[in-house]
Symmetry: C4
Amino acid sequence: MTKNRLEAFSDGVIAILITIMVLEFKVPHETTWEALVPLVPTVISYLLSFIMVGIYWNNHHHMLHSATSVSGGVLWANLHLLFWLSLVPFVTAWVGEHEFAQIPVIAQGLVMEMAGIAYYLLSRTLVHHHGRESGFSQALGWDLKGILSMILYPTGIALTFIHPWLGFGAYTVVAAIWFIPDRRFEKAENHRNVS
Amino acid sequence: MTKNRLEAFSDGVIAILITIMVLEFKVPHETTWEALVPLVPTVISYLLSFIMVGIYWNNHHHMLHSATSVSGGVLWANLHLLFWLSLVPFVTAWVGEHEFAQIPVIAQGLVMEMAGIAYYLLSRTLVHHHGRESGFSQALGWDLKGILSMILYPTGIALTFIHPWLGFGAYTVVAAIWFIPDRRFEKAENHRNVS
Amino acid sequence: MTKNRLEAFSDGVIAILITIMVLEFKVPHETTWEALVPLVPTVISYLLSFIMVGIYWNNHHHMLHSATSVSGGVLWANLHLLFWLSLVPFVTAWVGEHEFAQIPVIAQGLVMEMAGIAYYLLSRTLVHHHGRESGFSQALGWDLKGILSMILYPTGIALTFIHPWLGFGAYTVVAAIWFIPDRRFEKAENHRNVS
Amino acid sequence: MTKNRLEAFSDGVIAILITIMVLEFKVPHETTWEALVPLVPTVISYLLSFIMVGIYWNNHHHMLHSATSVSGGVLWANLHLLFWLSLVPFVTAWVGEHEFAQIPVIAQGLVMEMAGIAYYLLSRTLVHHHGRESGFSQALGWDLKGILSMILYPTGIALTFIHPWLGFGAYTVVAAIWFIPDRRFEKAENHRNVS
């Protein structure tokens, strides 16, 4: 019943988050190409966050599309996910302005790990709401990518203690894993349309 | 007739409000964990406001969903609610930047009280528009939570004169009361779908 | 055909405009009530602009709802209106920060006059697109309020040369005139639903 | 299946981009007309970007409207386009604040060229997804305007080495070319509605 507005509201918040990150690109005081050099780390950091938030939007959309209804608990779980996503612009800017210093990169990993956990909790809440035998739950199945990313972010955080670029590299691997659209739900949707 | 766009417009404004509050998280100039400590009050203040605005979105959605039509007066009442909600980011930032000083916490309570009153006025306007005998008005019934929060905010403001944390605690109690989804409208919706 | 996305896009832009104006409320560096006093002109200026933009959203919605289709020229005219509306946050902040100084108040009147003209041009473009004999054009009829505001804004600008508050008062009168929902379109909509 | 939310999400991001550019208009510290003079280049730069982003929204809408479905590759290609569009506010501000200095104007041309290429890639991805013999692909036909702009932006960049205004003039020509709505898709839509 409230599913459509849950989707619309989440879409709105995510669209704004992905866009206000560009407000961090401070306009240089000079008009040389060199004046853009200090912005390079911010752009790289932004690029990863842009892709990450875009992926969340995409997967969120697929998962909610498969859901047949939502509950009060789902609203809680969704707001929890949006909260962690809302911290992404902050850590993105911190990483970018300090050229991938160790602690900002760790903070970025923590926020992304928390967002990953929140997404996982949302999926579990939806499974609980629909029932284990529902079409939704069978379509979701074993959430390989969710579990992989919840392992890879702590790995990335650990690698940051060796060198921040190793940690950032691990986060990029998670993005690459997630970007591939989730065929499980597409299958379930086709199935439902047929039946 | 204009109900859908009223919902869409309110969703847009609320999604933006909830999101621009993160612009208050100033990126630290250092890359130490200590540099994040001054942000803790802002994050706590933000957390409450994030939940409060999320609740307004949720309850607004439930109430409007039950409405069968809107009038010019409803548009006025809705704009009035959005106005007070639009001041939330300001008081949130003021409270956060000054670590829960007395006057900012009182200001936060006043803005939330006004938003609560505006929400109450919106519900009364809708009752008036639908008529006292309508399904909408019977579903709304006695607005216990609305009245409770309009009492609790002034209580919180009074408690702030003893200690700001007591006041902030009272505001948190209101959030806890409201977060529980409003079953009255869910019942009414089920009823209408059946009949 | 493209009407729905034109509405959705305009809604998005207007919702953002109405909301980013609050970013102008600079958080005071002190925690006294006196620290809020310098914000009073900004709040008054914001209040008028909030209502004005809310009215544009409302009337825009009514007019577009009555339209049966849109053309390339309508897209142009709509973008033109959004351009002038997008300047509202700027003049609002200028008026507020300088406590209703003469030139900012004149600038505010000019931007609002241009938005009024742009709205009028949009209505004429829609009349031209639907044809003078169409239900849309007959519903629109003689645009009394549009013409009144196009006269009142220049009057307000002229009054500002005597005292800025007189000009600001004239702008407030326009807001009061427009806030009343446009019954012409509501009638036309009812008519169409019946036939 | 996911087409509607792809449209809604793109609309959201584009509406935000077009609107946050006005945040670059710094409120003058004085209340004279002269205080607005330094803003003139920013306004001109903003005007072109406002129109450009408005055109992308318009053409994106037409193209997606004609699409019958989307694929994972289309989501990638669309996110790629939104990424380059998200850099428009930055280059717009850089050009405006430095009164059309050479390097900022070149940077603006580069970002617009990349957005143009991203749009072209999106159209090719959609053609590939629908098949060369599909109604979509036949409606798209030979993308004259897309190819023209991809040639005109580098021309503009080259002209900037003579004088930045020549380059900016070339970008304006692209805007003029694109603003005319794309009749190819309108025809295809009419065709589909008829059949």
